[in-house]
């Protein structure tokens, strides 16, 4: 039986040889794009059966817009990379198929916890293949911290506030910088404190979830950020000369920031060994939970031939290989997403080199013990919610309204979005 299946599979793949040229759309630009193109070239080089053409779309959001238009007109690619916040929109779109069913033989359990939980169904089957994974870590500028006599990066928010006061007293104008983006100040904050952003475990339990971040410790943290900004301890993008938090850190204007592991490459290029990294701070008295995976994953789109899908499977297999992941990590600062790739990296003599500095801290952070609220975000129209959150909190930071009013408004608008999402997908079951 097994033999015949293997034989027929062989016959199938032989028939498919040379027949399959597939497209893969991605959103990254800059170093990420170069690394993706390198992986595509390596795949095409490594075998003769299939060809993948990798097409950059200039951004995650643009990629999604084009995919929607392409899918509606039947011109969509077989494989496409989408970013974290669009996960639920895609799962319910009817345009994609679960990767765990698409390639049942792959070792889907080998993915690290934080990467798996974000892209799996409520029942635990992976829907997309995690690809460029990042997470939130804490950055410090050694030289500026030393000015205030700070030896190590603080690990608690209380410590961050204290360090910021010391830095300000020592003449550092911008102790801590953030852009106030909800990925940093809301989602990652709630996850690593084990707190919910919305009920029903952030929507994993059903489409009837409701936002609850506007109360309790999450709301208190945002209030603290606003207070600290009034005290001159925290600066936002607009308050910095650079106009952007990561640039402000890289140019040495600011001493500390919360940022993606993906920012490490640019920071290290600019500041060299002055850059210090650690896990993102938590408030005293909380147990540390995992942070969420950021970046993007690869989705299989419906409506292609079996030959195309053979090629897609081969390409996904190729990208999952340890060497490919390590190479990708080296080039970009994204973290390895499978246990075996991580083990292979740690066993290699290069593990200690600076190019891999984020892999250790990042994966550590992703692999902290989880709870049902730190699995991920499974909320509809979430991209739009992020914009609303930014807009409302910006008004609070610039003094147009109180932080509590901003959070209440954002939650109310967000809940209206969730209800409309529920209605738009009436009768569609949450996978």
């Amino acid at each position: 039986m097994l033999k015949t299946t293997a034989l027929s599979a062989l016959a199938l793949s032989a028939a498919a040889a040379h027949a399959a040229d597939i497209d893969f759309w991605y959103g990254n630009t800059g170093t990420g794009e170069a690394a993706i193109q390198a992986a595509c070239a390596a795949f095409n080089e490594a075998q003769d059966d299939h060809r993948v053409t990798c097409i950059g779309q200039g951004g995650y959001e643009t990629g999604m817009q084009k995919a929607i238009a392409a899918y509606r007109s039947g011109q969509h690619p077989a494989l496409i990379q989408f970013f974290d916040a669009g996960t639920l929109d895609l799962m319910l779109s009817g345009a994609v198929m679960p990767v765990a069913e698409f390639a049942p033989d792959a070792d889907w359990d080998g993915y690290i916890t934080g990467a798996r939980s974000y892209y799996e169904t409520s029942q635990g089957a992976l829907y997309s293949q995690p690809y460029n994974g990042s997470t939130l870590i804490f950055y410090g500028n050694r030289a500026l911290l030393a000015k205030a006599g700070i030896e190590a990066l603080p690990q608690s928010w209380e410590g961050v506030a204290e360090a910021a006061r010391a830095l300000k007293a020592a003449g550092v104008d911008c102790p801590f910088v953030t852009d106030g983006h909800p990925w940093r100040v809301l989602e990652q904050f709630a996850a690593r404190h084990g707190l919910p952003v919305a009920t029903r475990n952030n929507g994993y339990g059903g489409l009837d979830a409701e936002y609850v971040f506007n109360q309790g410790p999450v709301a208190q943290h945002l209030q603290n950020l606003a207070d600290w900004r009034d005290d001159g301890l925290v600066k936002l993008d607009a308050d910095t000369a650079a106009g952007n938090y990561a640039t402000a850190f890289n140019t040495g204007e600011c001493a500390m920031m919360e940022g993606s592991t993906g920012s490490y490459g640019a920071a290290h290029a600019a500041l060299g060994d002055k850059v210090e990294i650690a896990m993102a701070p938590i408030y005293d008295g909380y147990a540390r939970h995992n942070t969420l995976i950021g970046g993007a994953s690869i989705w299989v789109m419906k409506g292609h031939s079996e030959a195309d899908y053979d090629a897609a499977r081969a390409f996904l297999d190729f990208l999952r290989q340890d060497e490919q992941q390590i190479e990708f990590t080296r080039a970009t600062g994204y973290v390895p997403v499978t246990e075996s790739a991580l083990a292979a990296l740690q066993a290699s003599p290069e593990a200690a080199s600076l190019e891999f500095a984020t892999a250790g801290v990042g994966v550590d952070s992703l692999n902290q013990p989880g709870n049902p609220d730190s699995r991920g975000i499974r909320l509809g129209f979430y991209v739009q919610f992020r914009d609303i959150f930014m807009e409302e909190t910006q008004k609070a930071f610039t003094g147009g309204q109180s932080m509590q009013a901003a959070l209440d408004n954002a939650a109310a608008c967000g809940n209206a979005l969730l209800r409309r999402f529920e209605q738009t997908y009436q009768g569609v079951a949450l996978p």
């Binding site: 779109s93 106009g243 807009e391 147009g400 738009t424 997908y425």
Partner: protein, 294 residues
């Protein structure tokens, strides 16, 4: 004049067909689709749409965000078209006079027309950058006195500056052409009767310029409602805190960034109705004052 007579009834339609097809495909079809989506809840990937009656309109009209966006749009309409027409009128009056620099000015003032509004936006963001731009020295003296990134009033000023700059050429050339068409005899006769430049402006130039002013007002007002996208996308992205989130930009953000096709379509329908209303009102109330006879 000789009149052409078509014997076949189909021939005129056939000759007009290419234009009609293009108009239908790229103008009427999208409008019909916008109306369709405005009454449906549409799944982004086209999985299915359901008729929901007026629910989308109730949702849009019931949201505070829409009203603040609509208010900002109307404010922008009045101030942006007003300021750019006034500036163009002053420059056209100056260039119409027989000054030494007039021929050069008539040429130079047209140049901004060749620059896309997105490029103008990028350039003005840099010029008015609070830390690196021309106003940065003010911030050194009085920290925080100029910051269009966080202060909504400053953001609006920045937007108007860029808009005036980009909108002048069009109004300028139409108004200048109108001024140049005013017969010299009228000026001379007025001058001989002892009318100074101001008097001639009030009693001769402005009344005779009303047809051109009317055209400019109608077009600038309609353009300010829909043409601000390039500037907003490059300069403010609707910020700070949604202060410059005009309807055109909100429609784009809702439809393309948030996959809310129904909401974006509903707002498109509302914006279309607004443009039609404003233009209609202008024809009803303003055109009466226009003197076409000379």
């Amino acid at each position: 004049m000789k009149q052409a007579i078509f014997r076949s009834r189909l021939l005129p339609w056939a000759l007009a067909a290419p234009q009609l097809i293009v108009l239908f495909l790229f103008f009427y079809l999208p409008i019909l689709l916008a109306f369709f989506w405005a009454f449906h809840l549409e799944q982004p990937f086209g999985g299915g749409s359901q008729f929901v009656g007026l629910q989308n309109f109730r949702r849009v009209l019931g949201s505070a965000e829409f009203w603040s966006s609509a208010g900002a749009t109307l404010l922008y309409m009045v101030l942006a078209s007003g300021s750019s027409i006034l500036a163009a009128l002053i420059l056209a009056l100056a260039a119409d006079r027989a000054l030494k620099v007039s021929p050069v000015a008539r040429n130079v003032f047209l140049w901004p027309k060749a620059v896309a509004s997105a490029s103008i936006g990028v350039v003005f963001v840099f010029i008015l950058n609070p830390y690196l731009g021309i106003l940065a020295p003010l911030n050194d003296l009085w920290p925080g006195i100029w910051n269009p990134r966080t202060n909504a009033v400053h953001t609006w000023i920045m937007l108007f500056a860029a808009n005036v700059w980009s909108a002048i050429p069009f109004s300028f050339i139409i108004l200048l052409a109108g001024l140049q068409a005013i017969p010299q005899e009228l000026h001379k006769a007025g001058a001989m009767d002892g009318a100074g430049p101001w008097r001639r402006l009030r009693d001769i130039q402005l009344p005779l310029l009303t047809p051109q002013l009317f055209v400019v007002i109608v077009l600038e007002v309609a353009d300010s409602l829909s043409g601000s996208f390039g500037l907003i996308d490059t300069m403010t992205q609707g910020g700070p805190g949604g202060a410059t989130n005009l309807l055109v930009y909100k429609i784009y953000a809702d439809g393309f960034k948030a996959y809310d096709l129904s909401g974006a379509a509903t707002q498109t329908v509302i914006l279309m109705a607004l443009v039609a209303c404003v233009t209609g009102l202008q024809y009803v109330f303003l055109e009466r004052k226009v003197k076409y006879d000379r």
